[in-house]
């Protein structure tokens, strides 16, 4: 599992990656009440705001962790945003994407580096 400074996690599955947010992020956001996912098939660039999430407190974005194409979205979250708080590393993944350059995964943080980031 790899991590971004935006508190996303990425896991490699076959020829693509699964993306979600970390427990730390889910806890900081508070109870989620709304998730708006990107369209399948779109090309995204690193840093694009592609998911809108709203907690009981405020709205925020999830950005594309790397360049690539969205190949699947977790539509369960649209009806059950609370899953993100319950199981952010498991059932509550947000989207799957095919990376333009899979080697860019190497530049992301490993678990130890991420733990250091969040203190």
């Amino acid at each position: 599992m790899k991590f971004t400074e935006e508190h996303e996690w990425l896991v490699i599955e076959d020829d693509h990656v699964i993306v979600g947010i970390t427990e730390h992020a889910a806890e900081a956001l508070g109870d989620l009440v709304f998730v708006e996912l990107p369209e399948v098939g779109i090309s995204v660039s690193k840093g694009d705001e592609i998911v809108v999430i709203e907690s009981v407190k405020a709205a925020s974005d999830i950005t594309a962790p790397l360049d690539g194409e969205i190949i699947e979205i977790n539509t369960t979250l649209t009806d059950k945003p609370e899953l993100v708080n319950e199981d952010p590393l498991g059932v509550a993944w947000f989207f799957k994407m095919k990376l333009t350059d899979p080697s860019e995964m190497d530049d992301l943080m490993d678990e130890d580096a991420y733990k250091e980031l969040i203190g």
Binding site: G30, F34, E36, E54, T78
Partner: protein, 376 residues
């Protein structure tokens, strides 16, 4: 920035894992370990304990010794019937300005020889100066600084609090008593700001930690933060000062004219004679140009404060604005309050709110979203 103040319950909040945030000059708990959603449901189903010690507590004593002199003096600043407020009864009201706007909303109680008032934390300094300036000839104004304020809210509140003082059972909504609880003199009102039955208690600073601990020792009681307090009051259709009401909103616009009794309106015995009376009373007769309404978004996306409202998906001119919005954990959908031009404010009207550049449908609905459970 000035240093943040702490309430006497600060250490308890921190010990229980509260997330502390700055609010109106205080470090306050926004949520505990349960989180906003579960804290909200807890309050609706059982009971929640809220630290509202940041709010202002004020005593108004008549110099003459006659309570109706203090009440009459206060009626110059507040357009409600205070003279007619019976001993051990409380009322909701608001200070108004010369333009008919609202300076603060408040609770005022007749405690026999004095009036007791609870005002918003963010307004308390201005409120006290306003009272000192305008009532100095007739009244002595005392700021209560040696007491904390806590609220026990929810269907289990009566059963829990009656184990400390059986007298609370006989109280009706907006009754007040003074009770001895754990050796302290506690000023209790059967009220709150969640839409639930419950009590607000003014407790000596040195006694409040013991009482709070004794209350949360009950299985039915959990401490609840400001986050759930906000979603509870929003579901109950109650205004948050500085958001849903302020110096630019009049009682008619903000749909609070129910608080202005007949005796203070045209034709009443003590009609007018308060700040902004002409505009406020004229609007009661003729209506205002805009009105506070409830909005139910069609989708799940919350429509939050500041979002503009339009009559159609393409209209260029907005007809209103959201002043409070979020998710209602009890009603299980997004809820908002806002101001809409009166001509489009009828219940059932479809409108559109612009969120992130997209027009999202909502319906104007009657407030509250969740009917209250007061003991009348």
């Amino acid at each position: 920035m000035a240093e943040l103040k702490r309430t006497p319950l600060y250490d308890l909040h921190v010990a229980l894992g509260a997330k502390m945030v700055p609010f109106a000059g205080y470090e306050m708990p926004v949520q505990y370990q349960l989180g906003v959603m579960k804290e909200h449901i807890q309050t609706r189903k059982l009971a929640g304990l809220f630290d509202v010690s940041h709010m202002g507590q004020v005593i108004i004593r008549p110099k003459s010794g006659n309570i109706s002199d203090a009440a009459l003096a206060l009626e110059k600043l507040i357009p409600i019937d205070i003279v007619g407020l019976k001993e051990n009864r409380q009322r909701y009201g608001f200070f108004t300005n010369d333009n008919g706007g609202i300076l603060d909303d408040l609770m005022v109680a007749n405690q026999g020889d004095h009036l007791f008032m609870v005002v918003n934390a963010g307004c308390k300094e201005n409120d006290i100066n306003h009272l000192l300036k305008n009532l100095k000839n007739d009244c002595i104004i005392e700021t209560v600084t040696d007491r904390a304020l806590i609220a026990l809210q929810g269907p289990s509140a009566e059963a829990v609090l009656s184990t400390f003082s059986p007298d609370v059972v006989g109280m009706r909504f907006m009754d007040t008593i003074v009770a001895n609880i754990l050796g302290a003199s506690v000023w209790i009102s059967r009220s709150g700001y969640t839409g639930e039955d419950g009590y607000e208690m003014s407790v000596p600073n040195e006694s409040v930690v013991e009482l709070a601990n004794a209350l949360i020792a009950f299985d039915a009681v959990e401490l609840i933060g400001l986050g759930a307090r906000d979603s509870l009051r929003l579901e109950a259709g109650l205004c948050l000062y500085g958001h849903d009401i302020d110096t630019t909103t009049t009682p008619s616009e903000s749909a609070l004219t129910w608080a202005i009794q007949k005796v203070r309106r045209y034709g009443g015995e003590r009609a007018g004679k308060f700040n902004g009376a002409d505009r406020i009373l004229n609007e009661i007769e003729q209506g205002a140009d805009r009105k506070r309404v409830g909005l139910r978004p069609a989708g799940r996306a919350p429509m939050r404060e500041g979002i503009k409202i339009f009559l159609t998906e393409t209209a260029e001119t907005s007809i209103g604005v959201i002043t409070s919005g979020g998710f209602g954990p009890t009603v299980q959908h997004a809820i908002s309050m806002g101001y809409i031009n009166t001509e489009f404010s009828e219940v059932g009207t479809t409108v559109f709110a612009e969120i992130r550049g997209k027009r999202m449908e909502a319906t104007i609905i009657a407030l509250p979203f969740k009917p209250p459970n007061f003991k009348r």
